[in-house]
């Protein structure tokens, strides 16, 4: 439906990285943590795609996978692989103010640290939630009946 050949253009703009198309309007670009800022800037400048819909965090067991869903005429998702031992990613604070809530959420639920985020208070979990327990990581099991659920001290 779109007039522009996004697959070709994206391939040119992100030369050297993997660009995939899953359906008519869904494009996936793999970038590294260092190139994240440049990639967002490219999307903004060359494709005028600036709306950050969300950031999806996933635990791939050997690493974390972050998907930055940018939507405009088409949806371009920047996927970033992060080291599980050192879960750090540059924050998009300066580029898209809307990323702050999603980064706070990631910090809460995955323990991923967005470097440069101005305000990393707890957003979703209670204040007294045990430190270092990140519920959406795969090594955290949902408690079965009879098992005690994790909770804060109070």
């Amino acid at each position: 439906m779109s007039q522009r050949d996004y697959l070709k253009d994206l391939g040119q703009a992100f030369a050297g990285t993997e660009v995939k198309q899953s359906s008519d309007r869904r494009f996936w670009v793999t970038v590294s943590t260092d190139d994240l800022h440049t990639a967002v800037q490219i999307l903004k400048d060359r494709f005028s795609i600036f709306h950050l819909s969300t950031i999806v965090g996933e635990d791939m067991r050997d690493s974390f996978l972050l998907s930055y869903v940018f939507s405009g005429e088409v949806v371009v998702t920047l996927t970033v692989k992060i080291n599980r031992e050192k879960p750090e990613v540059p924050s998009l604070a300066g580029l898209a103010q809307g990323s702050l809530v999603y980064e706070r959420e990631l910090h809460d639920l995955f323990g991923i640290i967005p470097v440069g985020h101005p305000d990393l208070r707890r957003q979703i979990l209670p204040e007294d939630w045990p430190e270092g327990l990140f519920p959406l990581r795969k090594d955290v099991q949902v408690p079965r009946a009879g098992q005690e659920a994790p909770k804060g001290e109070n």
Binding site: R26, T54, V75, Y102
Partner: protein
């Protein structure tokens, strides 16, 4: 109170919040000079819970994210799963799905208009609007059997078909809604004391809205021309003729205008859907239980804005990851910011203007079957009709 600032906490429980959330406002006199928000009081761990359930169980779990936009979340989710499965949903199924989408938007916007009126103490409008919301709720009950969690979606289509009588009945009740809507549009945009409370309140410029990644009617009221229904067509929206409503007011008045006009657009769309309704199956006959490995992102224009679901499957019966991004999440930060500089009195309406999601009530209709006391089983339908007739006959109240 002079130069001294006090911090007033609003929430987690406060009369104007229908759902727990916490806001800290630094105020000087009546003016707000700082605002912070904290959510998460309703965190139920649904994303984690989805990883433990199969695809159908997830569907009904996700339906319960929100009482008002339950259909939005399920539609968004099934679209993602259907995309991974490469299912082709029959046309009639898509039309029915879209019909419920638009009816849901209708009742959600009616609800919002009532709540907005209540937040500024205009209870008369609140009562009037909610009376007419009942009409929409009845239609929804007619279609799906439920007033709140419709449970009409299934992977590959919808679960219930629409009969010819139902179609006629729904078309008939639309006229009443249209007539009443004109009146509310006039009140909402002309009543002086209501206007005094919403004009110039909660300002959010277009540039700021872009930067804060605002969505839905909130963004459209700031002049941002975004609507997933048009930009990323799904379901039957490709066949429909509708306008995307925007406003350059950038304040609460703009949000009222956008929502009221969207109701009119939705009414038009429902009419089109019902007249064009194609014949055929309503769902795919055979849907595999195991979903092949893959991932998909689905977008949906919920009444409150863009809803995003991400599903990753791993070839088993259970999804690997389900991520839900509700529209309120995208708008809350922006709404909190838009309050700074206005008065304490504007807090409720400014926060309510993004229509924060809150859970809806459920209902019970059980009468015990006791022969000794002459009790009998009354169906909900009978009970309802009895109530409506009783009030009409004895009290002159019209529903």
């Amino acid at each position: 109170m002079g130069e001294k600032t006090i911090r007033i906490p609003i929430g987690p429980q406060h009369p104007f919040l229908k759902e727990p959330a916490k806001f800290d406002f630094d105020i000087s006199g009546e003016e707000i000079i700082g605002a912070r928000m904290r959510i998460g009081y309703n965190h139920r761990g649904m994303e984690k819970a989805c990883e433990e359930r199969n695809y159908y169980q997830c569907l009904y779990l996700l339906e319960r994210i929100c009482g008002i936009c339950s259909h939005s979340h399920t539609t968004c989710y099934v679209q993602a799963v259907e995309d991974i499965l490469k299912l082709e949903v029959p046309k009639r199924g898509l039309y029915l799905r879209t019909l419920v989408c638009e009816l849901e938007r209708l009742h959600s916007h009616f609800l919002w208009l009532g709540v907005a009126a209540h937040e500024v103490g205009f209870d008369t409008l609140f009562m009037y609007v909610w009376r007419d919301r009942e009409v929409v709720m009845e239609i929804l009950e007619e279609i799906s059997g439920n007033r709140v969690n419709y449970a009409i979606n299934t992977i590959g289509g919808v679960r219930r078909d629409l009969t010819e009588e139902q179609r006629k009945k729904i078309l008939g009740s639309l006229d009443l809604l249209k007539k009443r809507l004109d009146y509310y549009t006039h009140i909402g945009t002309h009543e002086p004391s209501f206007l005094a409370r919403i004009q110039g309140v909660g300002k959010m410029s277009k540039e700021r809205a872009i930067q804060m990644c605002a969505v839905g009617p909130f963004a459209r009221a700031s002049g941002l021309d975004v609507d997933v229904r048009r930009d990323d067509q799904y379901a039957a929206y490709g066949d429909l003729d509708f306008k995307v409503i925007t406003s350059d007011q950038c304040d609460v008045l703009g949000r009222v205008i956008v929502r009221v006009l969207e109701i009119a657009e939705s009414l038009k769309m429902i009419q089109q859907l019902l007249t064009k309704l194609p014949e055929g199956d309503i769902a795919v006959k055979k849907v595999p239980r195991r979903v092949p490995a893959g991932f998909s992102i689905s977008r949906y224009e919920a009444p409150r804005g863009e809803d995003v679901h991400y599903v990753r499957s791993n070839g088993t019966e259970k999804p690997e990851r389900v991520k839900v991004r509700a529209p309120t999440m995208a708008n809350l930060e922006a709404a909190t910011e838009s309050i700074v500089g206005s008065f304490i009195a504007d807090i409720p309406i400014a926060i309510a203007s993004i229509d924060p999601c809150f859970s809806c009530t459920d209902r019970t209709a059980v009468v015990l079957n006791d022969k000794k006391k002459g009790m009998r089983i009354t169906t909900w339908e009978e009970l309802r009709r009895y109530g409506v007739d009783w009030y009409r006959k004895n009290k002159g109240i019209h529903f």
